[in-house]
């Protein structure tokens, strides 16, 4: 089984010597190994031609574009919530871009660094309309399906405890598919996960209109890409790919106009696109690193709109994920 394999690989590689710089390894290999979900529309899911797409997937493509000038040089590894960290620790993947919540223990004792927050989310509840619930506070005694190895599994216990709701049961399943299947079959009254995930799962259910997401958001779920401890250069690279996407949107640099923007006289645009200074060399790349990214994937806003925005089946408004200049909290650090 994959889980055992990862654990074994994890043990062996922890016991072996892993020391080479990730960027050098990636360049020698010719592709970025990127951990994604096993299929979550809008974030990372394969289409009918088996091409991966989504917010998390596009972020990995942006990394590949920055390094190789080719967004297709990514190898995607679909991972369950439970196996994802072992895969990253063991070196099976270079970056985990899999709707993963930034928490303190993951950032510290588990040995990872989060490069940024690509999507600000929160946990919610999906229930059948026929149950006639108005609020999550009425979930006393309910059976709840959750995917194991997620922050959701912990939050739901806390929520029930904090609201003094007893007699419920939480059944934890190994993968998202198994969890959703159990909810659909009636084993559970409630399916709980991040709201974006609920929206995506709801669309996949046989009759989406029969299900409703309750209004409460019970937690903060800042989702972002993460890397292993111990390689600052690679951490910087992933972090600045994220900031480049945000800065490009803020400066109005898009996939279409990036060629013209290279000639822009705006000093911020010049530094971002490498016509002034050689900031890209600071992360082991060339000065025009950001041009390659934007050409391949577009800026953050374009990626958002393409995958989860109002024009997509998911139809999620920007909200918190808007730029800080437009009422959201997405904020790109300055290139300087």
């Amino acid at each position: 089984m994959k889980r055992i394999l990862f654990a074994a690989v994890g043990l062996l590689s922890l016991a072996g010597a892993v020391n080479a710089a990730t960027l050098d390894e990636v360049k020698t290999r010719g592709s970025v190994n990127c951990g994604v979900s096993q299929g979550l529309p809008g974030f990372s899911s394969p289409n009918d031609k088996n091409e991966w797409g989504g917010l998390d997937v596009d972020f990995c493509r942006a990394i590949a574009a920055a390094i190789f000038n080719d967004p297709t040089k990514v190898k995607f590894s679909p991972l369950s919530a439970k196996d994802r960290f072992t895969a990253l620790t063991s070196g099976a993947i270079d970056v985990l871009s899999r709707n993963t919540t930034w928490t303190m223990s993951r950032d510290t004792t588990l040995g990872f660094n989060f490069a940024g927050v690509i999507y600000y989310d929160g946990q919610g509840f999906l229930v059948r309309k026929s149950v006639g619930l108005k609020s999550a506070k009425e979930l006393q005694g309910a059976s709840i399906c959750v995917q194991t190895g997620t922050s959701n599994e912990l939050n739901v216990s806390d929520f029930f405890r904090a609201n003094n709701m007893k007699n419920g049961e939480v059944i934890a399943f190994g993968t998202l598919d198994e969890t959703v299947k159990a909810y659909e079959s009636g084993r559970c009254d409630v399916f709980t996960a991040d709201r974006s995930q609920l929206a995506a799962v709801r669309l996949k259910l046989t009759n989406a209109a029969d299900h409703v997401i309750l209004p409460e958001t019970i937690s903060k779920e800042p989702l972002g890409p993460l890397v292993r401890h111990g390689d600052d250069q690679w951490f910087d690279l992933v972090k600045w790919v994220y900031f480049a996407l945000l800065n490009a949107e803020e400066l109005g640099v898009t996939q279409k106009n990036v060629e013209e923007q290279v000639n822009s006289q705006n000093p911020d645009v010049k530094r971002l696109l490498g016509t002034d200074g050689k900031y890209g060399e600071g992360i082991g790349l060339t000065a025009d690193w950001a041009v390659r990214i934007i050409k391949a994937t577009g800026n953050y806003g374009e990626i958002y709109d393409r995958n989860v925005g109002p024009a997509t089946p998911l139809g999620i408004e920007r909200g918190l994920n808007n730029l800080w200049t437009k009422g959201g909290i997405q904020y790109g650090m300055p290139v300087r």
């Binding site: 654990a7 806390d158 190994g174 401890h229």
Partner: protein, 431 residues
């Protein structure tokens, strides 16, 4: 004892380095191998320590005291999310032991019945048993677990449409029947018990099987003592009956006597101390049933799948064991006037056990290890709780995998030891 040296020159004069000396050669090779193993283990350990420190990953077993924070759907001991990872580990271990223990018993029963049925002269029974063995042995256990969970149990109705069964008429019938034949001492507590059941009290739905829960109040210990006394008594009767049969050839229905004792003694004790056991019946409140005992479908599907899958293998082992007993044995038994049942029970099976027990042990071990597949249907066993959720949350792969390995190894070694002891008892005593 080798006497080679005695016939040669004195040993001291020949003690030189020589590859032609097989003893010296083999000890040198063994020492070198042992050193390589020590070096390998040490370098694994040192590398792991260095890499963990470099990656800034916590190590050690301190995490066992930390707050687990996750809920578990089946707990045999009190547990909630504010308890520690260590407690969660025990909960998972008990869940594994529960499903393995019941699975072994159920698989053995199914296996013996099916193994004997495959040798039946009745064509229909034989065909059914053969079909069972061929189907269950040749489908992967994970598939069978998913089949029971998704194709069978999940099609049951929801809590509000539960199938309800009333136990009141059943117990009432037994109680008044016993009283009717003059066994009021037994019948009265059963009738009392029946009166406390408000029908229906047993429910089956897609959340599991809900049954009334006995609540033990003051004086219940008397029932426990009576039960222990009954078990001891039936054990003694069994030994006595065996001895008598071997000495005189007269059979005695020890099994039925024992069963009657085990049922009757606790009932009589309960009556004597004034029926201290009350019943908590489940009732539908909100989403689910509240009160009573609930067996979750994750457990049922895992138990059924493991028992039925392993039962297929055990049936073949039993069949081969019976076939290994020569035909003359049953012919001799028949010629002594024994009917088919006693022949099988007293002559064939005891001899077949010698062939059956060793491979049976492997099947018990397989069943225990296969219980880790329960993670696929959300059964909270040791593997799911500890090597799954706890590993994911603490990231301490080395410690957790090592502990999990040690636990499965210990369970298996204990099982092997018990079966080894049993095997010695049934083995042919050679004179």
């Amino acid at each position: 004892m080798s006497d080679v040296r005695l016939s040669g020159p004195p040993a001291a004069s020949r003690r030189r380095w020589s590859w032609t000396d097989p003893k010296l050669r083999s000890s040198v090779i063994q020492i070198v191998l042992a050193l390589i193993m020590v070096w390998l283990v040490w370098s694994f350990y040192a590398n792991a320590q260095a890499n963990l420190a470099r990656l800034g990953i916590a190590s050690g077993f301190g995490f066992l005291d930390n707050r687990a924070g996750f809920a578990i759907s089946q707990t045999l001991i009190p547990y909630n999310e504010s308890m520690s990872y260590g407690r969660a580990f025990v909960v998972g271990l008990l869940n594994t032991l529960l499903v393995a223990f019941l699975g072994v018993i159920l698989a053995t029963l199914i296996g013996f019945v099916m193994g004997v049925a495959r040798l039946s002269k009745n064509v229909v029974i034989k065909a059914l048993a053969s079909a069972y063995v061929e189907i269950t042995r040749n489908l992967p256990p994970l598939f069978q677990i998913m089949f029971w969970y998704l194709a069978v149990l999940s099609t049951l109705p929801g809590p509000r449409q539960s199938w309800g069964f009333g136990l009141q008429p059943l117990f009432n019938g037994i109680g008044s029947g016993l009283s009717g034949i003059g066994l009021g001492v037994l019948g009265a507590p059963i009738s009392n018990f029946a009166a406390s059941l408000s029908a229906p009290s047993v429910f089956v739905n897609n959340r599991g099987l809900v049954v009334p829960r006995p609540v033990f109040e003051d004086g219940s210990m008397a029932i426990l003592y009576a039960l222990i006394a009954a078990v001891v008594a039936s054990f003694v009767i069994g030994r006595w009956a065996k001895k008598r049969r071997e000495a005189t050839g007269k059979p005695f229905p020890a099994f039925w006597t024992g069963l009657a004792l085990i049922i009757a003694l606790p009932l009589a004790a309960s009556y004597a101390v004034g029926n201290p056991v009350t019943i908590e019946t489940p009732e539908l409140r909100g989403f689910n049933f509240v009160g009573g005992l609930r067996v979750i479908p994750e457990f049922v599907s895992l138990l059924l799948a493991l028992a039925i899958y392993t039962g297929g293998f055990i049936a073949e082992i039993v069949r081969s064991g019976i076939l290994a007993v020569s035909k003359g044995q049953s012919e001799a038994a028949h010629s002594l006037g024994l009917r088919n049942g006693p022949t099988l029970r007293l002559v064939i099976i005891p001899q077949a056990m010698r062939v059956i027990v060793p491979p049976l042990t492997s099947q018990y071990l397989n069943l225990t290890k296969n219980s880790s597949l329960g993670v696929a249907v959300g059964y909270p066993d040791l593997f799911a709780i500890f090597a799954g959720t706890t590993l994911n949350q603490t990231g301490q792969a080395i410690e957790i995998i090592a502990v999990t390995m040690a636990v499965y190894l210990t369970i298996s070694i204990i099982t092997s030891a018990i079966m080894g002891w049993y095997n010695k008892r049934v083995a042919l005593v050679e004179r």
